[in-house]
Amino acid sequence: MASLVAINNKTHLHLKVSPEKAQWHGSALHLIPVVASEFINLAVQYPVVLTKNGDTGQFVFAAMLGFETGENLFWQNDQWQGLYLPLHIRRQPFFVSTNDDEQQGNDEYAVFIDSKSPTIEANSSKGERLFNSEGIDTEYFQQAKACLAQLIIGEKENQTLLAILQEMELIQALSLEVTFADQHSTNLSGLYTIDEEKLAQVSDEQIVKLHKGGWLPAIYSMSSSLGQIHALIDLKNKKKKHHNEQI
């Protein structure tokens, strides 16, 4: 559980963070939220799907990293073995929230840090500082903030894309029975994807809307990324085999 503390250049003047350890935050996630602008990068390795938020039942975009809760098949030997690290991992240990003190309509955001993040270095000889000795943001912290900004924009774009997909009824449930090499099988439920048949039948007006909005790359990336489920099965089989050999 993240424990969020607002960052300021007094309390956190000397704080040091090791960015390369951010990936630890995803070591036990089988689904990770993603934003539309990174679908193309994700689709090279991970299935990009839709799932529903447990609290609200609303759709969220997610990259699939494993088949069951707690399973990230890209996490091996204490390292993330994927080519592309999703923004939600790279942003660690920083979080952003609208500042309650601000007037509405003001785009000021407050930046928080997860005080329990493994990226925070107790040993001051390692890691990157957030502030220089004058209390001004370091280049590292500026980059971290840029990453958060990208996420904020990404979340807004996600909502727009979701609304369009729902309005055009382009989402369908993904029902899939996956059988592993050891004949063990699992039913994937609660996942959704693009309904390609419906996509092929959208009206001229709708396709223009998708094209002008720049949504087609994201939509096609989602569709094509489903093939990565086979790669994921392969990873799982290898992991199982390795596990069995050790026994």
């Binding site: 529903k52 609290d55 039942g57 369908q172 959704y192």
Partner: protein, 409 residues
């Protein structure tokens, strides 16, 4: 000490439902109800379910919705007016109805939806009303709207029906209040006594509530379709609301009419005969099923229950079934019409829920396959545990639906 322990055990039993009740052994839904859980989660698509459920609709709003649907989507011309006269054709069909403001309205077929006044089928055609008050004694309802204690008080996920000295009380949890009512037999209880029973059930709040008294006339028309006129709704009949059968009958009749709408006057009498046969069969089965609830009770605190068990008050069709069920459980072949309102399972829930025991001495082989039975029981237990672990409370789900809505898929 012992007595205290026993009381505690009984209390625990009540809180967890009856652990070994028939319904608990064969279905996971009793456990959900006892815990006040919702039948689905916020992630379940709209109209999809994890456990079976139904909605309570605001009938006033629903009527407006249907009216709008009919006018806007189905192109129906909706006229609101008073019928002052019914005009016959030579063959005794209804040729037209005269209205106060819109003159005569001609038609090939007339659906009598005039409620209890039964203007066409009852008053015009004089089709007799077949009362079943000799079988089902309940003839009065006292209803109240009970506010919740707190804004976030638990909402029961099932209609709670509790037997009383001369009838039973319904208790329906809605979003903003409970609907509670006592239906009773006025031959077995005075109104004053009935009010006292209802007050005892509702508790302190009762004194401030407005009590609505509703007469219940149990029975139905001997024919539901006469000439070119058929009755749907209260004009056709009504029964005490124990199984919400009145609504089902409206739906089934409307569906049957839409699917079998006569193509010409020539075929109408054939369609009408079949409609009558099916509808009457359904009324009789519902009456049997409602009566079943009463005849198994061992209550002796009021003549209401004793009279209900009196053989003279039990229809022969139900007596026959009870005879068969002495030796075996209700089965699908007891209900072979494809127009059944209640399946065999419904009868099983009532029979065995009331502690009835079938005697398998003559057919012990029926109980031979203990492994299979055990498999089903343990499967149900797994389902129960899973449901209890994953379902939110009814209140929590309703609040979420209000905040976020349900997804279409």
């Amino acid at each position: 000490m012992e007595r205290n322990k026993l009381a505690k055990n009984n209390q625990a039993k009540q809180e967890n439902g009856n652990a070994h009740s028939f319904s608990n052994e064969v279905c996971f839904q009793e456990a959900i109800c006892e815990k006040g859980l919702a039948p689905k989660t916020i992630r379940t698509a709209e109209f999809a379910d994890i456990a079976n459920y139904a909605y309570h609709l605001d009938s006033g709003k629903f009527a407006v919705f249907l009216q709008k649907h009919c006018q806007e989507k189905l192109g129906i011309n909706h006229i609101i007016d008073d019928v002052i006269q019914v005009n016959s054709a030579d063959n005794d069909d209804i040729a037209s109805v005269s209205t106060k403001e819109h003159g005569d309205i001609c038609g090939e077929i007339f659906v009598d939806c005039t409620g209890f006044s039964s203007l066409l089928i009852g008053k015009h055609y004089g089709v007799p009303f077949k009362s079943c008050s000799d079988i089902l004694f309940i003839d009065t309802a006292l209803a109240v709207q009970v506010p919740y204690d707190e804004e976030d008080s638990a909402i029961a996920s099932h209609t709670i029906s509790t037997g009383q000295e001369a009838g039973w009380i319904w208790d329906i949890g809605l979003q903003h209040r409970r609907g509670v009512g006592y239906v009773y037999s006025s031959k077995h209880s005075s109104e004053e006594q009935a009010r006292a029973v209802l007050a005892g059930y509702v508790g302190d709040k009762f004194s401030g509530l407005k009590v609505r008294k509703i007469p219940i006339i149990s029975g139905h028309r001997e024919k539901l379709w006469q000439n070119n006129c058929l009755a749907i709704g209260l004009s056709a009949g009504f029964l005490e609301p124990l199984e919400a059968s009145a609504l089902v009958m409206v739906e089934l009749a409307a569906q049957m009419l839409s699917e079998q709408l006569p193509q010409s006057r020539d075929v109408m009498d054939v369609v009408a005969n079949r409609f009558n046969e099916i509808a009457l069969y359904r009324w009789e089965r519902i009456i049997d099923f409602l009566k079943l609830h009463y005849i198994l009770s061992k209550r002796d605190d009021n003549a209401f229950w004793r009279d209900n068990r009196d053989s003279k008050s039990i229809p022969q069709s139900l007596k026959d079934l009870m005879k068969l069920w002495q030796y075996r459980s209700p089965a699908d072949h007891d209900f072979t019409s494809n127009n059944e309102v209640f399946p065999a399972a419904s009868y099983q829930y009532i029979l065995y829920g009331m502690g009835f025991e079938s005697d398998y001495r003559h057919t012990p082989y029926v109980l031979d396959d203990k492994t299979l039975a055990q498999q089903h029981f343990s499967q149900n237990q797994k389902l129960t545990e899973k449901a209890l672990a994953s379902l939110p409370s009814n209140r929590e789900l309703l609040n979420k639906i209000k905040a976020y809505g349900l997804n279409r898929l």
